[in-house]
């Protein structure tokens, strides 16, 4: 996935990727990544858990705007099946920092 991400970014379109295998992401070095330590096949979480899926998508966009270093990987604090998404605070505006 990271290889395709790099090509899209190289072509001038900003990208953000979700990773479930940190080791691969560290090697392939896509521009920006949010990492979740979750099982294969579940990058956005569990079926029907809308709050969880939404939280990952919003965190991805947050990092898209916040990241400043090429290759940055942000570890999301969400624990598999043990996280309370009601207490998740959604980011405010998604705007460029410069």
């Amino acid at each position: 996935m990271g290889l395709v991400q790099r090509e899209i970014e190289k072509a001038g379109i900003p990208t953000i990727g979700v990773s479930i295998v940190r080791e691969y992401t560290e090697k392939v070095q896509p521009p920006r990544t949010v990492y979740v330590k979750w099982p294969f096949g579940h990058p956005l979480g569990e079926p029907g858990n809308i709050k969880q899926q939404r939280a990952v998508v919003l965190e991805a966009f947050r990092v898209l705007y916040a990241a400043t270093t090429p290759g940055e990987i942000v570890d999301l604090p969400f624990r598999w099946r043990r996280h309370d998404y009601d207490s998740y605070e959604e980011p405010g505006a998604f705007v460029p920092s410069r």
Partner: protein, 171 residues
């Protein structure tokens, strides 16, 4: 065929018992380009951006040709996904992960409904009509095809659709 069944069984086991996955993760060496990491600044607020999805989860429409699971170096081709219809017309061809949960809810690998929610709320400006799916785990001589053909064609289509931001999801 027996090889496919073996792969599917391993995929189920490592999804259920993540500690087993570590062995497969360590055994696989992803290809490294050795080139510097590309970087493009986001210049617009998200509320003015058109967003597209790219996934390596092996999803496709039912009438599209499934990904080739016989080739041990993978299938470097891609499928164009129509955001408007994929939710009620999708199939997953991928033997290297257990997709039984994704068959219940596409959004855990391809969060199209979550993006639509955000579009409705005005958090994202617009959602592209076309999205793209590949299968990941590409190896050997297929890496060149992935980069020089598939990725370039995807970029061309993203440009045609004036996409500002791409969200990528694995499986």
């Amino acid at each position: 065929m027996s090889n496919r069944i073996k792969n599917q069984l391993i995929a189920k086991l490592i999804t259920r018992f993540p500690s087993l996955a570590q062995r497969f993760i360590t055994a696989y060496e992803p290809w490294e380009s050795g080139e510097p990491t590309p970087w493009t600044f986001v210049t617009k607020p998200l509320s003015e951006c058109r967003v597209a999805l790219v996934t390596t989860s092996g999803i496709h429409h039912k009438d599209q040709q499934p990904f080739d699971m016989q080739d041990s170096e993978g299938d470097p081709s891609f499928r164009e996904i129509a955001g408007a219809t994929i939710g009620r017309d999708y199939q997953i061809t991928h033997d290297y992960y257990d997709h039984s949960d994704a068959e219940k809810d596409l959004n855990i690998i391809f969060p199209i409904d979550r993006l639509r929610d955000l579009q409705t709320e005005g958090v994202i400006g617009d959602l592209a009509e076309r999205h793209y799916s590949l299968m990941g785990h590409i190896d050997g001589h297929h890496i060149a095809t992935l980069i020089n053909r598939s990725a370039r064609q995807i970029v061309e289509k993203l440009r045609q659709d004036a996409v500002d931001v791409v969200l990528l999801t694995p499986a």
